[in-house]
Each structure stands twice: as structure tokens, then as C-alpha cells.
Symmetry: D2
Subunit: 377 residues, 4 copies
């Protein structure tokens, strides 16, 4: 194996999975329980109520699915759409690319609106498509709120404004995997129909829970959506919601208790304070990058992400070497550049339950300079 | 909430999720890690090698999917079959019923062979179907190895023998959720094409990992299977297997380390010893039931399950009351009767990392007698 | 090493250290903290207030000392007595023997009142001594509330009554290691001057905290006691109590949080309910012993202990073999016979956070019979 | 309470208790076990063998005592000396002061050699005393290897050289609490007779285990030492060492497993590498202090401590405000100035299982400047 024991804490500054706070680790340090006992439904009920708050919705229906973000995507699409449905989707980086790939493989007709990597969703292109679509053949607009590969945050309020402007009834499906609980997100206000995140992101838990929330309009769409689905079928959940036992199949007891604590921590700090903290740490990271004399991959300030910064390295350096060196020498995990920006950027995650002292670990490298062999002096 | 704090350990004797041994809880008591670091692929590689041993296969390809047993079912079906394919499936209890429901919703044509609950798969009916199927329209035989609802273990070697007798090429897909690692299972020897289990069963881990293993024949079938799949698509895994990074999406770091320890414990005890232990504890449970003067739901000795015993209560008793009383009074979790046997049976799980002293908790009630209000005297 | 991996949970039925409930294990699953931060004093304050409740005192002063029961003994003696002081001490088993040994090595003049092992403290002998001691040369009466080696509980109210009857001012020092939080104990009502227990007993925590409580009279005695002491000196604690920082040296952060949870669990169940539960489980154990046809080492019913039962084996059997067999074969830990009763008794602990189902593990052996080679059939 | 929930990890940079590495936390995440079973003695035997390596001794006898550093001091003194014995002791800071206080209260005659705080032990004064002591009335020299209050490391080899030069037979008792496993220490080579440390220091465990090691000469002295001792008496340990059961009273099972893992981590990294790492991080801290324009409390380079740096603040600032601000604002724990240097210094611990990225947290404040109200700009 090409890794050896290193002393000290691993510093995890990838944009997910993120550092788990001790209280969540503690809450999950437990044996299994019978999920058909009275205790687990009682716990689940509080979770379903409270999880709506992180989406800022009162009318949405949440689902806690034993899956990853990829599964949450599939759940959002298959429950609301039918094969052959036309959707508009923005390609701005690796994660939007992967979602589009999934959309195509699930047999939707996808109008891909591509931007240069480092730029946000091209809303002008969306406007043109909406304007042209008098007959409402577009059934959904799919958008990644925060593209983790390039550190780009899209403007969801603007998407809603466009749809309203054209009185277009398309559903709005949002990947909030690296935004929800960290970047301002307002499901009800912005008319988002399906929003989703994963437990290992801003909730600062282990991987394994896809959290999906559906608007009343999405729930209505689910009644006629013809996409084949079983594991991801919301109807199976709804059946057990009615019974008050909540689970169509076995949930992870540990993740349920972990979510309870993760939500408690969020609410204790205050969701708005959490978002402000991400904003503060995001800005600090960008200032550090500037101080290093390096460029942010994100091309315009209004797209800057408060959860991840993709840093462009000079052309004579392979960014993968930076990541490798950080890992072997400092026990510090940074994110690789992916696909089109492989070798060109490394990524600093500033996502989750962090504080100033914790956060500045990667930034403390600011005194150092990248040398020509791609390592720090 | 209708539950209160009770002192002492909860005794979990449902057939899953089962008790987690301390070393596994310990191994999972950890922070997240970057799954793209060199450490996680190195760990994953050992897991994929070792997990084949629990299936008793050398030629199979394993998949560790962040899902439950229900998702593992879907993975087995969608990767090997196409919509409209004819399959034969045995209905002998609640879990085989649910799998058949999934098969039908995934648009396969399912020949259901039903048995009375408490009886095993009707292999004579299978024989007739195979004999009649000269043109090999049957693409797969789906069978639950151990039906958890009724405590019935099916004879997989006999299924193989029948198929071989008729030189029938149908795939054999096996739900081994409550058998693998606890009841003798031999993937290669019995010509099983897809076998699957879940982490929260005999592996004695938390829920969240579906473990699926595919024979070379199943892998071949996957190349042409037309069922729509993305999250569950084996091809995405194979792509990353080739890259040596193994994961198409984020795995649970905690479950990977948990699986490592669960496998270590299994191999330290010896898989055959583990199976012998389940056999011993299963027999002991059945003797206890006999001593109570109660009936086993399983109708014939050769179907007796070594991982769960469904106990029939007298007609004047509701078995749910027995379960409830055990929980409120003794902090002891038993399994309810499901569907057709609801109210009629309760179930004692004797599955996972148990020993004699641990196991006999539910059986120690043997000195007691069920009274007419469904509680123990 | 003469032990191997055994599957399933170890069943710990020694009278200490006892099984730790999951919530306490969870609470202790944490990193160190700075004990000079504002958080630890705030936590300590609640502990010192609440721990008085387990002694049933409002006027006592508690000390949470990083030590074991042996250290707590030393703390009780050296803070209240001077070398050469005359004390009366009851020898009724191994633990009272060890305490007397300590008393003698600390240079007190000890009047030992010995009883046959299996019998309680000889209070008639105490009465004679008190009657004869007109000049009050006896400075303290030392008594083990519950002798763990023989399963004997002494009558502390009777001791108080005798002292009051003779208007004797001797201090009463009580070892409550295996009684406090499990057997009725009333510090104020019974005029106990120093009472002590250890974290690993009825509080169901790990070893490492000696909990000592001193009456106002004992605190007064501490001002003039000339025994040499530093680590165990109450004055060092009092100095920091006044400062509000509480700790003269570094406490175990983990044990502080563990104690917080242990107390919470006790109060949630209700201390009187906890005592009633021990009484119920103690009685049940004695009935099981009777059913086995074996004899209780304790010779009279009013001495029966509700936290441990010492079981006398037939003369042709070595009780150590019973303990060894339980451990190797059933992963079940029982207590050995100690000193005078070595080989003659084994001990079943029924102490701590137990319930009926948990507890009956050792008793489930009731269907078995001891055979002539000292093992169970 | 004057503290509130803060997000992110607490950064613990006091010189003890220090950060516990995850593997040690994991190892301790367990239930109690019977310490009289065969497993615990087998484990203990490996610990006693291996713990000698951290003292660099082959001839020493180690004791793992359930106590703190203060108790370990008492163990060292009372087992080797008799009341009235003359000892020489160096007062150079708060911890040497406390040890001297203990020595005096234990009734030894202490020649205190005082240095200005910030300076090391005055070895010239020792030389004079040794020279004058032809009749060998000095029974022991007591020295704190690393004074935690001022960040001063004493030269133990020089002490040995002096004693040898004068052929003086005095015992050498060393407090290695904040040095052993972090700063070069050689028990055998330097002729140290009793050395001691605590679990919560360089071993990076919770508090609760005092680790004491005695040379053959110290063991010989213990045979005639007349200090009263019971809990701390080495003889009780030796009795159980001979029996092979090792424990005179109940040890903390959790700390034993924790120590096993702590030693494994030390040996995996290599003790010399660990010491080199502390040297590197210590130097880096001092460079940071220099860069801040602040002064090191330690007055001479050869006394610089590699485990803690005491930083002198400007006279118009109260160092307690710096510590408080770090805690409330950054969730960062620094050490207060103690006693004579209270308000004048704050302390940065760089002790235990740290790495560069972890370590530089407090140092990242280097970009900031102390302002006149004692906080950072």
C-alpha cells in the first residue's frame, strides 16, 4: 500500500465527505435497534418535521433515503418525470455533467445548456428556450445549486423569476448537495419543486442518507410520472408515513440518531448563522488564494461559492501533485481537479461544521510558495 | 411518545437489524475520510477480495452498494434482465412477496409459484415449468434462500439440480439476506448467478450496505440487459474498478471499516464454525419453543431456519401483544408476525454475532406460560 | 495466551466492574478538553450537587477523586483520623479484610471484630466495646455496607442506633462500594460521617473515580486529623472549590461526562426504583440458586445482598472451574471465591444498569446441573 | 453558564490534557471487562514490557497506577524515602513548586534551589550542595525534566554527571510528565532512579493513569523506605506481579486498551521520530512567536522546551484575556500563565500526537497583532 501511518489528525478539506463533529460521532456510536419498535417512528417523526427547516419549506414532503447524492438525483427525476420528457439542464462542471448523464440514461430528452467550466448557468439561454416553448414541452429545469467541481454557485431566485416571467409550468429540480445548510436556500420562496442533499455534506454526517424534499406540485407530478422506480419510489414511503411506521425498508438507526444531533447542532447555532459562517470562511479562503498569487477557477464574483474554492495552479504545475503532497506530508486532504480541470485546479472545501481555527489549516500554507515541481516550499 | 427509558441493555432478537459486536462499533467510531486518497482504495481492494469468501465464490464479481436489501434486489434484477423478461419466483412469505412486487413493478413477467406460508418453495411446480419451457423463455429463477417472515430455508442445491436436469439456462438470482454468513451457502458450487445480502444481517453491521455478487454468466447478461438503471448500474462500478479507485460515488467510510472488522471476526471464528453456531442456536431455540408447548410456523424439519424461528401463538392470543409486552417489560425486541401471519406468530431472531449466553435471553422465558391476555405469567 | 476470540457479547456478571450502559459509553467517547476552560467547572458544579443525592445527603461534602475504591478508603481514613487513633472494624470477608489491612498499615489501632465468612457484622460485639468505652477512645467505627466477597449486607441503621444508645461520638466510616445506588443507603438519616463508592460499581461506569462524601462532623475532624496525606487531601479540593475551578489536579474529562450521564440515567429511572430493581433481581437470583439445589454463602436472610450472590458449590467441585468454564464456553464472567472461600463459592453479580432479560443470563443455567468435574451438564 | 455552543472542532493547545488520536479514542470505546479473566493479565503483561521502552530502560520496574501526575509524584517519593530524609529540589515554576509543596507535606527535609521563573535548574547550586555533603545526608535529588509553566527543559545528563563527579549516591527522582515520549529521555543511561509521567500528556490519552518506573536501586530503597503508603505502595503491585494477575485493585479496562494503542502508535512512528517531530514543531512555534514580535518566557536557548512555549505578552495586556478570547472566539484552548507569571504569559502546548497542519492552528494567528485591549486584531 502506498500510504503509511502519519501522526496527528487528518485534516479533511475536501468538499465532502466533510469533518463530522464529535457530538454526531457520539450520537452514532450505538448498537442497532428494532426499527419497528415505538421508539424509531417517534424519532423519525421529529426528523421529518425538522428536516423541512433546512430546505426552508413548510409545504414540502421530505424523504430520508438510504442512498447517496446520486441516488437522490434518481429519486428526484424518476418520481416526477416520464421517459421521453423534455428537460433543460445546465452543464457547468463535473457534477452537473454526471447528473445530465443520469438524466439521459433514464431516457429523458435533455436540452443541455453548457457553460465554460468556471462560469455559472447560462440563464440567457434558458430564457430563450422558455420563450420559444409556448406549448410547454419542457417538463423540468434541472440545476445544480453549487457546482462542487469549479466552486460556482448558481442564482436560483433568477431561475424562478424567469419561469414566472414566462408563466412556464416546468418543475424546478435542484441539486443542493453542496449548498443546503451552508448557502442560502429557500425552497418555498423560490418555488423549487424537488431539492436534495446528502448527509455527508453540510450536515456533517457520514455518507448514506439522501435527503429529498418535494413540493406539492412535485407530489402531484409523482402521481402520473411513468418512470420505472421501486427502491426510489416515494409512494412506498407515503404508504408507511400514513401507517405511522415511516419505513418501507430498514433505515440506518445510526444515521437517524446522527441526523437528530446534526439538526440539533444546526438549530442551536441558528441556520442563518451557519450560512453567515460559511460566507465568512469562504471569503477568507478566497483572500488567502489571492494572497498566494493564485487564481480562483470561478470567473465572476457573483458565482463565488462559500463551500468550496477551486484554485487554479500555474501551467507548469500538476495540481494533483499539490493534493498528493498535502496528503503525504501534512496529512491534509484537498480535492483534486476533475475532468476538464484535472491537473489544473485543486479544491479547498470549507463546508460543514468548521470554525476559524479549524478552517485555516489549508490556508496556513499561505506563507509558502508553489515551486516548479508542484510542491510547496 | 409511548415509550420510556428502561434500564439495562436492549435485547435485540429480531432477525435484523441484529446486534453489532463491540469491535465493529469501535471500528466505525470514526471521522470521515477522503475516499479519493490512496487509503480508501487500498482498503476497498481487500474488502472486495474477502467478501467473495462469504459467498463461497472465486469467480464472482462483488459490489458493495450504499443501499438496503431492497436496493440490492433491484440491482440484481435490473443488471441482468430486460423489461418483459419471463421469470419464475416463489411466494412463501412476506419478503418473497415484496421481491415479487418489485419484479412486477420493474416490468418483468413473473410466474409466481405460491406456497402456504410456513412451507418452502414448491420445487415440483418449478420442475413442471422447466419441463414445459423447451424454448427457454424463462430467463431467471428468483428465490429467497431464507424467508425471514416464516423461518423457512429453501434448498438451493435442489434448484440447481433441477435446472441442470432440464439443461435449462435460466439465471438463478438468490436473496441471501438472512442466510449468507449464517446458513450454508455456496455460490459457485450451486451455480448461483446473483446472490445478495445486507450489512445489518449476519454480518452484524448497521444497515446501509447492500452486498451483491454476480457470476461470470450474470456479468455477461449485464452487457445486454435493457432494464433502465443508473444508481444500481454495475457498469459504473466496473469503470472505477478498472481505474483502481473503485467508487462511482461516495461510499460510507464508516461502513467500509465496519465491514473490514466484520469480515475479520468471521474469518477468525471460521465461516464454517459460524454456520455451525447458527445451527446450534437455531436448534436450541426450536427446542425451547417445543418446551413452551408452542408450534413452529415452519411446517417441515428440512425447511427449519437456523437464523429465525416464527412461533405460532394460540388462537386466543394476539402475537403483537407478546412482542409489545416483551419490549415494554423486558426491553426485549422480538419480531412481529407480518401480513398473512400478523397476530398469529412472533419471531425470534438468532442471527449474527451471538453466543449461548446472549442467545438464550428470549428462551429463558421458557419457565413462563402465555396467559389468555397474551402476556407471560 | 490462553484465551481466544469468542463470538457474541461477553456477559459480565461479576460484582464489578459492571456493564456500562450504552449512553454512558457514548458520553465518554470524546476527546480531552481543557479543564481550566469555563465549561468543565460548570459541569463539575452540577456533578457535585447531584452526586449528593446518591448518598441521600444534603449536608455532606462530596469529592470526586481520580482513584479506585482502595484510594477512596485511604481518603476517608487519612482525612479524619490521626496515627494511633483507635478504631473498630468488622472483618466479614475479603474486602473488609483488605480495608482493615489498610487501616493497620496507616498506623491506626484497630479493634477487629471478626465474623464467620457468610455472616454479617457482629453488632453485639460492637455494643460491648461501646459500652466499655466510657472515655471515648474509639475514634471511628469502620464498616463495609455490603461485603462483596460473601454477599452480605450489614445493617447500618442498627450501628447508628447503638452509637446513639451509648451516646458515643465515634465517626462512622462506610464502604458503600457495592451498595450505594443499588441498596438503600441514607447518609444523613443514619448519621454516616464518611461514605464512599467507586465509579465502576452501581454507577455502571469505567473504573477510575472514587466518590467520597463527608459529613459536617467529618469535615470538622479533617481540620485536626494528623495523618499524612497529599494526593488524597480534602483541603486541596476545598481550596479549588472556593476558587470555583474545582480541581487541584487534572480530572478525567471522560469520566466527568460519564458521571453526568450515569446520574441522569439514575434520576430518570428514579433512585428508589433502581434500588427496587436490584432487590427484585437479587431475589430472583437467590430463587435460581435455590432451584439449582445450591446453597447461598450468606447465612441469614436479613444479610442477603441485592447486588451479589455468593453460591456455595458441593465439596467435590472447585468453584474456580465453574468460573473458568463459564468464561471459556459461554463468554460469561462470574466472580471467583476469594481467600477463605476460594474454590468454595462462585459469585454472581447483579449490580448496575441491568434488566430482567439481561440479568437472567447466568440464571438461565438453572436447567443445568453441576456435574462431578465441576462443569455444567 | 458563561459558555455557549461553538461550531467546529475545539483546538486544544494546552500542554495537557492533550488531543487524543482517533485510534486511541476508538480503542477505549468499550464496555468493562472482568480484570480477573485470563485476557486482562495477558494484555497487562505486554503493557508492562512495552512501557519500559518509553523510559529507555531495560532494568526498570514499571507501575501503571490509577491516579494522576500528582499521585505519581507521591508514589515516587513515598516508596523510596523515609520521613525526615533530606532531599534537594529545584523550584523553577508552578509544577516544581507543587511537587516541593508535596515533598514538604510528606515530611521530607527539602533543600529548595530556586531559579528565576524562565530559567532552568541551578546546577551550580546543586554542585555546591553535593560537594558539601561528604556524609551523604542528601538522599534524593528531585527534578522536573520539563517545567510546563515556563517551558523550560532541564539537562538531566548534567545532573547525573555531577552526582557521578562527586560519587554521590543520592537517588534521582524525575518528573517526566511533560517530557517523556516527547523530549529525549534516557532512564538507564542517565541513571534516573524513579521517572514518571501521566497518560494525558505525550501518550495522548485521557487522564487517569500515572506511569512510574523504578530503577533497581529505587526498588532496593523501597524495601527500607518508611514513608506510610498503601494505595501507592509498590509492594502491593509486586505481590500481584508475582501471581501473574498484576492488579492489587481494579484497573481501568479502557485505559489499558488505550495505552496499548497509544504505545502501538508511538512504536509505529518510532520513538525517535516522535521526539524529532516535537523538536520540529517546538522550533516552529518559537519562530512564530518571534515573528509576532513577542518574547519567549524561557530565558536561554538550551532550556527551550519542545513541548510547550510560554509566550510573554506586553505589559499593557493581561495574558488571561488572550486565552479567554482564543476560547470564546476561536474555540481554541491555550494555557494560562500560572502563579508568578499569571497575566504575563500564555502558553501554547505542542505536545502529543500532532502534525504540522494540526499544530499550526495557534500559530496561524501570526498574521494578527495583539492590540492594547489584549485581543487580536
Amino acid at each position: 500500500m502506498d500510504f503509511v501511518y502519519g501522526p496527528g489528525k487528518n485534516h479533511l478539506f475536501v468538499p465532502g465527505p466533510v469533518n463530522i463533529p464529535e457530538p454526531v460521532i457520539r450520537a452514532m456510536n450505538r448498537n442497532n435497534e428494532d426499527y419497528r419498535s415505538p421508539a424509531i417512528p417517534a424519532l423519525t417523526k421529529t426528523l421529518l418535521e425538522d428536516v423541512k427547516k433546512i430546505f426552508k419549506t413548510t409545504s414540502g414532503t421530505p424523504f430520508l433515503i438510504p442512498t447517496t447524492g446520486t441516488g437522490a438525483w434518481e429519486s428526484a427525476l424518476t418520481n416526477t418525470l416520464s421517459p421521453g420528457d423534455r428537460i433543460v439542464s445546465f452543464l457547468i462542471g463535473q457534477f452537473s455533467l454526471l447528473w445530465i448523464d443520469q438524466q439521459q440514461r433514464l431516457n429523458f430528452r435533455v436540452d443541455v445548456i453548457e457553460s465554460e467550466w468556471g462560469r455559472g448557468a447560462d440563464l440567457d439561454a434558458l430564457a430563450s428556450k422558455l420563450e420559444a416553448d409556448r406549448s410547454h414541452t419542457i417538463k423540468a429545469v434541472c440545476i445544480v445549486h453549487n457546482e462542487t467541481a469549479t466552486g460556482v454557485t448558481n442564482d436560483l431566485a433568477a431561475v424562478r423569476k424567469l419561469l414566472d416571467g414566462y408563466r412556464h409550468p416546468a418543475l424546478v429540480l435542484v441539486d443542493g448537495v453542496s449548498s443546503i445548510c451552508a448557502i442560502d436556500f429557500r425552497m418555498d420562496e423560490w418555488g423549487v419543486d424537488v431539492a436534495l442533499t446528502g448527509s455527508q455534506k453540510a450536515l456533517s454526517m457520514p455518507t448514506g442518507m439522501g435527503i429529498v424534499c418535494a413540493s406539492p406540485k412535485a407530489m402531484e407530478a409523482a402521481k402520473t410520472a411513468k418512470s420505472v422506480r421501486v427502491f426510489f419510489d416515494w409512494n412506498d414511503y407515503l404508504k408507511f408515513y400514513k401507517l405511522g411506521t415511516f419505513w418501507p425498508y430498514t433505515p440506518s438507526i445510526q444515521l437517524l440518531y446522527g441526523l437528530r444531533t446534526a439538526l440539533d447542532l444546526l438549530f442551536e447555532e441558528g441556520l442563518d448563522n451557519v450560512i453567515a459562517r460559511h460566507s465568512r470562511l469562504g471569503k477568507a479562503t478566497r483572500l488567502a488564494v489571492e494572497a498566494w498569487g493564485l487564481k480562483n477557477c470561478t470567473q465572476r464574483e457573483d458565482w463565488f461559492s462559500d463551500t468550496v474554492t477551486a484554485v487554479v495552479v500555474p501551467p507548469y504545475i500538476n495540481s494533483a501533485d499539490v493534493v498528493k503532497r498535502a496528503w503525504t506530508r501534512y496529512n491534509l486532504s484537498l480535492g483534486l481537479g476533475l475532468n476538464k480541470v484535472a491537473g489544473k485546479v485543486f479544491r479547498i472545501g470549507h463546508l460543514g461544521n468548521l470554525n476559524e481555527a479549524f478552517h485555516f489549516n489549508p490556508c496556513r500554507l499561505s506563507g509558502l510558495r508553489l515551486n516548479t515541481v508542484g510542491t510547496w516550499d
